[in-house]
Symmetry: C2
Subunit: 333 residues, 2 copies
Amino acid sequence: MAAAKFDVLTIGNAIVDVLAQTEEDFLVREGLVKGSMRLIDGKEADRLFEHMGPAQLISGGCAGNTAAGVASFGGRAAFIGKVADDELGRFFRHDMHALGIHFPATPLTDGTPTARSMILITPDSERTMNTFLAACQELSPADIDRETVEGAAITYLEGYLWDPPKAKEAFRIAARLAHGAKRRVAITLSDSFCVDRFRDEFIDLMRTGALDLVFANRHEVLSLYQTSDFETAVSCLERDIKLAVVTMSEEGSMVVADGRRVRVPAAKVDKIVDLTGAGDLYAAGFLYGLSRGFAHEVSGRLGSLAAAEVISHVGARPVESLRQLAGQAGLAA
Amino acid sequence: MAAAKFDVLTIGNAIVDVLAQTEEDFLVREGLVKGSMRLIDGKEADRLFEHMGPAQLISGGCAGNTAAGVASFGGRAAFIGKVADDELGRFFRHDMHALGIHFPATPLTDGTPTARSMILITPDSERTMNTFLAACQELSPADIDRETVEGAAITYLEGYLWDPPKAKEAFRIAARLAHGAKRRVAITLSDSFCVDRFRDEFIDLMRTGALDLVFANRHEVLSLYQTSDFETAVSCLERDIKLAVVTMSEEGSMVVADGRRVRVPAAKVDKIVDLTGAGDLYAAGFLYGLSRGFAHEVSGRLGSLAAAEVISHVGARPVESLRQLAGQAGLAA
């Protein structure tokens, strides 16, 4: 096995976030489930945009955010996702390149726009996402750059890739290529509704050994095993996969590995502003630590630290250097 | 004179800000003067964008920011400026409408893009602006909606409008229409380099009575009268115009009216993050207060409060309700 060229490759939907502060009333009027992600079409995207408040545009997408986090720790990151050859696509690509993230993109030129997610931030800092996948629907096996996958110590895939049909196939191919090169494959279950849509397939991927590491939050792991008992869910999880991380918001996280469970506390946040990206950045810290051979607890602490940074401001990507913050916290990074 | 339909109409360059955190080194390498605004062409905009860090897009432009501030105080605001019929133009228009700002726009369709300003924020929170005016070059007398101008208690113009030649003519026409309807006309001198480019014209506008109120910061008023002595500059200013406001960063501001000078303290800020928009939001508070007939000192305090809000986060428009903040501060708003 050749030395890895990248610490972490993430594959996911390439999305520009359209973030706006929103009153609770607006969610009620629109019939939106707070904290969830729903998929919308272009027409609904235009309609919702017209009704939502003043916004800011920040590159996002779960896997893109995680790559940004890995890069901010000083890790060698790569990203695969589909943008269009338009203004937002150029903006997204710019941000990846500016972070030093390898992004072997072939932008779409058929007129389909770059994906956007309208993210409504309520006064409790919770985010409710409305995603128009657009160009992301066209991510296909042809976009899976073999050299990049084989050169990455860990390939990290988002569960949301199960939504666009061609992306699902791209996901499977990437996982096979990675394992063929004796690399590790990780997944995030993305959200409980996503788990609900693809439960059997996710469990099958775990049981057949297509995945080495699963990230899930409490809602997702409960949804995965269709139980309301957390202990039951975690027991199922540890039977199905050798390494799993369950994030639990302000209660921190739990690393489940080889029959052992390690609890990791959440990091302190002065003021929570916007929860968008918390899970993505937790994954960034953990994956970075894992790629560097740190103990699971240290990797979990790097995850907590990254999550704390990203929820202290609007937008799902770090604005402070995570490498510097890790150094200040006494975590080898 | 009919009752005003709008408290404040602002006319200026319609710009989307592309904001990025930047190390001091980058400014040095690029030969940029910290704190300034320079005009660049499309080619230079592309080149600089490629080299700058990850960014966020937030609607900006001095006059647009001021209108957003007036609206946030609960004032009836209108804005005139030129966007293109493209993604950024739609984003800018959306933000104005979402704030309830009347924006009688005819977007440009000749392929010229919407203006953008690449704003580099250094660790000291100072901002250095690189503006590609693009569609703003096409603001012309035809865009000056007579009904809107005549219906606004105050028309506020930015000095930067002196850069695009047709906009200058539009400015003059707007000022005449406003005075014809017995309304007030205000200007911001925008920046000291702008003053340097158009010194004689600005002084002429003041002396001929085309303006009723001038906003300037310390650098601008020194540049206007080509002196390094602040007292000399202020004395000249009060001879040339009946109402002027000089902003002095952390030292607050001074309202100069009819031979009297009123000092207004700056408002407390926990942590300064990004100075972009400080002057624009000060003007919003002052203009809102003036339109409601408040004492100059109260209007100045509203300006200080709005400036303090906007420098506490990235982006040049308020994210908290200025009306609410004013209420909490015991200022009638």
